[in-house]
């Protein structure tokens, strides 16, 4: 084997990224409109997972309440777009839904990011388990908080901005009658005919941009500092890493990503309501990060696909359980809890057997194949 000084390996990742971006660009030509919507959710989850991984995987700060930051982003977008009657109010300010949908995305990210950054300060005093506990409580309290401030958030019914004039000029499928509402956007290069395709391109554009940003941020000095905080706060501090600065920074970045994801989530759903942002969402995000791999970036795509498609698959597991387990006779048996059980089992198995998630699995397989090829040569 010759030793090549120019490392082609350095080009592999950018090349892969370009290929992935091209695949993303042309995928809608080959899949149905319905699938395009599902893949849009994959992009949304990917953004949220990158955010959570910056905090939990790279910096070691456990968050069981990232759904709350998504809620902040989602409600920011919904409040700014909505023209509901009666209008939403914050104090004496009345929101009249004057903002175009995509302008609300960065605003949602910034609002969530600032709140996350501020939450980082009290969180500095909470280590490990206590941070987990506090964020878990945040996740459970979120829907109640949203419901309480109903003049701003629409209360338990939430905000539906499907009909708002500033909300996408594209044809949407009416959620009640399933009729297509006509519209269309001409991007000169090609036209985007439906709401779901528009959603697909919107979410994946944002996801790819934020992916590159995260990659650039994490590969250099900042990434090293964050990882050193995770591995040993003591060692990091003695090497001159400012713990407070990097921890609050990680909270801010992480919440920004969650806020953007929440904003897109609201746009994809065309509405927001309190129970969408409960503990379940936060836990699903954690599942996605763990399955993809704590402290990894690329494999989060697998985590995102996993949390989007596994529930759909698990819902098909609606055969009855064995009779011996059924203490109570249930007519018309279905399995509403199946996805949660599958998630839970996978979460525990991954932690017991593959703590590195998909990323660790790939690394292990790579090491194995290298060893095999070395033995062969």
């Amino acid at each position: 084997m010759s030793r090549v000084q120019l490392r082609p390996a350095a080009l592999v990742k950018p090349l892969l990224f370009v290929l992935a971006a091209l695949a993303v660009l042309f995928l809608p030509r080959f899949i149905s409109d319905f699938r395009a919507q599902q893949f849009a959710y994959v992009a949304i989850f990917l953004i949220a997972l990158i955010g959570l991984n910056v905090l939990t995987g790279f910096t070691g700060q456990i968050s069981l309440g990232h759904g709350a930051f998504m809620a902040i982003g989602a409600y920011t977008t919904a409040i700014l777009i909505s023209n509901s009657e009666p209008a939403l109010k914050l104090g004496s300010h009345v929101f009249e839904g004057q903002m175009q949908d995509y302008w609300t995305i960065p605003i949602a990210g910034i609002v969530a990011g600032v709140i996350g950054f501020l939450f980082g300060f009290p969180a500095l005093r909470l280590s490990g388990l206590y941070l987990a506990l506090a964020t878990f409580a945040v996740a459970i309290a979120t829907p109640a908080l949203i419901r309480r401030f109903d003049t701003l958030t629409g209360g338990g019914a939430g905000i539906n901005f499907f009909d708002s004039p500033r909300f996408t000029g594209l044809p949407k499928t009416d959620p009640v009658t399933f009729e297509e509402i006509p519209g269309g956007v001409d991007l000169r290069l090609f036209t985007i005919p439906t709401f779901n395709e528009w959603l697909y391109y919107l979410t994946w554009t944002v996801a790819l941009v934020l992916f590159v940003v995260a990659w650039a941020l994490l590969r250099g000095r900042t990434g090293r500092a964050l990882r050193s905080v995770r591995d040993s706060e003591l060692a990091a501090a003695s090497s001159g890493v400012n713990l407070a600065r990097y921890k609050t920074l990680a909270f801010g970045i992480s919440a920004f990503y969650a806020g953007v994801a929440g904003s897109l989530y609201a746009i994809a759903n065309t509405n927001v309501y309190p129970d969408a942002f409960g503990i379940t969402l936060s836990i699903f995000l954690l599942v996605g990060v763990v399955v993809g791999g704590l402290g990894s970036l690329w494999p989060l795509v697998i985590g995102a696909v996993f949390i989007q498609f596994l529930p759909l698959w698990a819902q098909s597991l609606n055969g009855p359980l064995p009779d011996s387990l059924l203490l109570v006779d249930v007519p018309n048996f279905r399995a509403p809890g199946a996805p949660a059980v599958v998630y839970g089992v996978i979460l525990i198995l991954v932690m017991l057997a593959f703590p590195g998630g998909a990323a660790g699995l790939v690394r292990r397989l790579g090491a194995l194949s290298r060893r095999l090829s070395q033995r062969a040569s």
Partner: protein, 294 residues
């Protein structure tokens, strides 16, 4: 004034339930330094078992009650042996994620087996009130408080006067030294999980008549139990009970007399309690402050 005392008593009753669950959390945290996020879901699941015993197997209430406690104990021990033991030495993140996995499994299993629909759950005590000096006090509240007090006294006696109790205290305090003198530390931790599951089952069965039986019934109560444990000091069993009672009464009074809070904001208030205590006095009211050598 009579209404005020009524609110205090019903606050004590809900506080007793928080105290039982908080005690379960403290028991596990003292022994292993873990917070079991699945404690609430375990409690919910055992309550479903009690309901199944009563409804489809016609067990009388108290028989079902004690059979459930036995099942909870065995289940708790088994859970520690099978799921928790392999990760004892792992990072906090791993342990937290595994207990979150348990949350998902129990919650999902409950709606898988028994559907998610809300069911009634009988109370052991009649739905009467007795008159104490012009204050109408519900028999259910008194019964709830009584059951929890009895349980706490039993547990205290167990830890104080039995050999296993002593061994458990020893293994929590210094596992290595305990192992050297022949205590089977692993099994002591298992028994700890079993007892915690029993405490949870009691909390679940006492709470179910008012919150009704459904897969998410313990989520709010778990947060109140967290707040109680943190308020009293997460390593202090006495603190957990005191914290639970204080929180129960406090939340009930705040919820009834402060319009802004009402019934919606009790959870956020508990969250606030957790945050303030952790930030201002992390050891809680009755815990010993921890100093760390670096």
């Amino acid at each position: 004034m009579a209404q005020f005392f009524q609110q205090v008593v019903s606050g004590l009753a809900s506080g007793a339930i928080y105290a039982a669950l908080a005690l379960a959390l403290v028991l596990i945290h003292r022994a292993t330094g873990v917070i079991n996020f699945a404690q609430g879901e375990m409690a919910m699941f055992t309550t479903y078992i009690a309901s199944a015993l009563m409804v489809s197997h016609d067990f009388p209430y108290w028989v079902a009650f004690f059979v459930t406690l036995a099942i909870a104990f065995v289940g708790g021990v088994a859970l520690q042996r099978v799921v928790i033991r392999p990760i004892e030495q792992a990072s906090i993140l791993t342990i937290v994620i595994v207990t979150i996995g348990l949350v998902l499994i129990f919650n999902g299993l409950a709606s898988w087996i028994w559907t998610g629909e809300i069911r009634p759950f009988p109370s052991a005590f009649p739905n009467d009130t007795i008159d104490v000096g012009g204050v109408a006090i519900s028999v259910q509240d008194i019964g709830t408080i009584g059951v929890v007090i009895g349980l706490v006294v039993l547990l205290w006696a167990f830890f104080e006067f039995t050999k296993i109790g002593l061994a458990m205290r020893a293994s929590a305090l210094n596992p290595d030294a305990s192992r050297l003198v022949g205590v089977r530390v692993g099994w002591m931790l298992g028994i700890g999980w079993g007892l915690a599951a029993v405490l949870g089952a009691v909390a679940g069965m006492l709470a179910a008549p008012t919150v009704f039986l459904e897969p998410n019934m313990m989520q709010g109560i778990l947060i109140f139990a967290f707040a109680s444990a943190v308020l009293g000091g997460i390593d202090s069993p006495f603190g957990a009970v005191a914290g639970g009672l204080m929180l129960g009464v406090g939340l009930n009074l705040v919820g009834n007399y402060v319009d802004f809070v009402g019934s919606d904001l009790r959870l956020p208030v508990a969250l606030l309690v957790i945050l303030i205590v952790l930030l201002v006095r992390p050891a809680g009211l009755f815990g010993k402050p921890v100093t760390r050598r670096v």
